[in-house]
Each structure stands twice: as C-alpha cells, then as structure tokens.
Subunit: 251 residues, 2 copies
C-alpha cells in the first residue's frame, strides 16, 4: 500500500476540503465506527486513509475491502485530516447516500426547523431511526454530514432518510393539502399534550430552533402540542424533547 | 482587580488541580452560563478568574458579586484553565452543593449504574430536573462534576440531587424492603412496556452502562421494562432511553 507522508499531498488536501463543504457529493468520515458503518451500508468509498498502527490492528478488513483505493498515512497527516483531538487514524472519503426524497403521505416524519447544533441534529437522526420513523425533514438546518453530526448520528445519516426541504411553507401547505397532519412542538402549558398525537397515520411533527423554537409561519399551519412537565421545563434540550415526541409518534 | 499573567501562578495551579480531582469539595466551573448558574443557585464561589475582554463585556456582574475573590487573567492563563478549545474566558472555583442525600420512599428516582460518558450523565441530570424527578442515584458512575458533565447538565448538577450510592445491592435491598418498586431498563422485546410503570409512587428505574447494560445483581432485584420500538433499537442512546423512561415515570 502506498504511503503518504506529506500533509500537503493533493489527496490529503482534497480530503480536507470536504470537511466544511456542504454542497459536495462526497464527505470525509473519521473513525473506525463511522467508516465501518459506511462500508456495511453499501456506501461508495472512493478512498481510505489509515495509519500503520490502525492497519496493523486488523480491525479494518471490511473497510479496506469496500474502498476503491487505500493509502497508509503518517501520524502528522492523520492529525491534519482529523476533527477530533485524538484521532483513531482512519478516514474514508464516502459518497453521500442517494436516499429517496419521496414523502409518504401515510408516514411519520420529524421536521427540524433551523436546528443549528450538529450534535443535536445527529442525535435526532439516530433516534428517529431507532423509533422506525419514515424520515427527517430538514428545513434550513446545519449540515447533516458535518463531522460532528455524522458522529452523533452513529452512522444513521448513511442509512436513514434525511430530506432537505427548500421552501418550507409551500411544502407544508402542499403536504397538508394531501391529508397529512402537522403538529408543532411548543413550550406552552395550554397546548394539547404530546400524547394526543399518537397512533395516527400521516403525521409530521415540527421541532424548532434551539433558542427560538418554531417560526410564526409554521406555527400558523399546525396544531400546537407540548410535553407537560412537573419540573424545570427550561432544562429540556431539543433532542430530549424530540425523543419524547418520536416515542409518542411511534406508539 | 489584581491581574494574573503567569500560567504558573499558584492560584492557577490550584484551580487546574481541581479539573480532574473527584474527591475534592471544590470544582472548577468554566463559561458564562455555568458560572452564572452557580451564582444564581447560591453556590459558594471562592474565586472567579476572568479575562479583561470578559470583564468589559458587562455580563459578569452577578458572578463577580457572588465571588469572594476575583482576578483578571491573561489569554494564555485562560487557555491553561480551559477544557474547551475556544474558552469564553471566565472560570469559577465553586463549592460542590451540599444537597440532601435522604431518599424519599414515595419519590421517583432514576438510578444510573456505571454510566461512563460524562455527556450522557450530565444530560440525564438535566432531563431528570426537567421532569421533576426526586433525584438521580449514581452507582459507580463518572464524576458528576467533571467539566463535561457539568456542561451537559447545563448547571443542573448545582441544583438537582445527585446521590452517590456506595453499596448498590445492599441499598436496593433496603429500599425495596421499605416498599419502593425497582424497575430495570432492558433491551428485550419480551419485557413489559415502559408505559406500565407510569403513575406509581415510590419508584426507582435503573439504567445501565452504555455498552453492557445493567449488572446481573441489579436485574435479579427488579422488574424488567423496555421501550418497544419499530426501528433499529441498537441506535438508541442511553440518555435517549432514559428520557423516555423519565417521561413515563413523570406522567
């Protein structure tokens, strides 16, 4: 296997350029778990970079087999590619999955509006997959394929439909016209309990930005629901709220 | 206000020594949000360190007022004190809260067994507070006052009872003898649904280690409950599972 020793190698530069690029068809996955998830889910891996130590560990067979090309890298190159402080020493250039963008009007979706934190975003994708939802609808959110979002999703972004919605209001009007029910998660004790939305078919529940909640336009289109809590509601994180909502949706 | 310019100043060395020390009565809190939480919750703050820029921001009045002593620090000193990559530039040495360790046998508790990830731990404390539970029972877990756990808890560790249990099995036998119900969260489709534990008084639900779940000893003492899911259960994080459990407990 060829060895790359320079941090300025064009292949390394290209790989690094994928780290903060949203509009690309490829993404740089870091770490054994994520690279393995990509390989196991049939994601096309164009290149794998790994340190000698990682190669010797014998943990990478499936990843190397799935990769079109593989290169050994020096520790210093690994540190350049890494987003984490103590990289494991394995990186894959993966093609973003081409998942269906079709909305099933009898399905169950979580809509995320302006969710900015990639950790929250990734966690919600992971939880949506766990509950067997139909997909995540992402409206003006952070990049689903940023390093942090991929890590928090535990690879779920490679398997689970995350559908980007460009024109949110028009989309919602259209889908409501097709008979879907839109619920809006709010922090408001007068709103109906989140338990009331359970067991319906064709539902979208919208969850808003970490600080500001949902937009007025979205709130005007849906039925508000809330999680009634005895304690300190302001201590509730958006991804925890979404967990309860998806739990009720999935019932 | 006196200015500390050296990273080797004894006060700075002492503050740094608190970062990884579990058995101390004091803890180093970092960041505006956490320091403010400490100040607002009547936590004794022995020392506040802050950069000139942070001081000028005018955001620190309440923190400075609550601190027995305050020092300006150079940027390089701030970086030494910090656990984050881009520190905001404010740090407080806080006394750990002296919360009651009494168990209320009609209360509702989440028991955490060998939870190792401080992010998960802190998130669960935060969520337990949101749902108005009586407390967290921590058995052989990570440090509730590590920098990461404090951050993830959003300051809830300063307000909400986290009770460390030394002899878990003896404790559980005792508390069951006093009439409390113990439920054990498991990943097992044959177990009763988590919904069945709702609306009871005097309950403890135990959640286990991220990788291995609950110990055999604990499982032998309680009733297994599970979260039935249509999707990919292995995608479910311990803190998301605990959110659903607490939601049902709090109903």
């Amino acid at each position: 296997m060829e060895k790359i020793t320079s941090r300025n190698n064009p292949k390394i530069k290209y790989a690094c350029s994928l780290k903060n690029a949203r509009e690309t068809a490829f993404v740089l996955a870091e770490g054994l778990r994520l690279c393995r998830d990509a390989a196991e889910n049939g994601i096309a891996i164009s290149t794998c970079f790994l340190t000698e130590k990682m190669y010797q560990s014998g943990e990478c067979a499936a990843i190397l087999e799935a990769s079109q090309a593989s290169f050994l890298i020096e520790q210093s190159v690994s540190e350049k590619l890494a987003e984490t402080k103590n990289p494991q020493g394995i990186f894959c250039i993966c093609q973003k999955p081409q998942l269906s963008c079709e909305i099933d009007s009898s399905g169950k979706y979580l809509l995320l509006e302006q969710v900015r934190d990639p950790g929250n975003f990734g966690t919600m994708v992971r939880t949506a997959e766990a509950f067997g939802l139909s997909g995540i609808l992402a409206c003006d959110c952070c990049d689903a394929f940023s390093a942090k979002a991929m890590r928090a999703s535990m690879g779920a972004v490679f398997r689970f439909p995350v559908i980007e919605i460009e024109q949110e209001e028009a989309f919602l009007r259209d889908i409501i016209g097709k008979g879907m029910n839109l619920y809006c998660a709010v922090v408001e004790s007068a709103a109906a309990d989140v338990g009331t939305l359970a067991r319906q078919q064709g539902i979208i529940t919208a969850v808003g930005n970490e600080a500001n909640g949902l937009s007025r336009e979205t709130l005007a289109l849906g039925t508000p629901v809330t999680i009634h809590m005895a304690g300190r509601a302001e201590s509730f994180n958006v991804s925890q709220a979404a967990t309860v909502i998806m739990y009720e949706m999935a019932k």
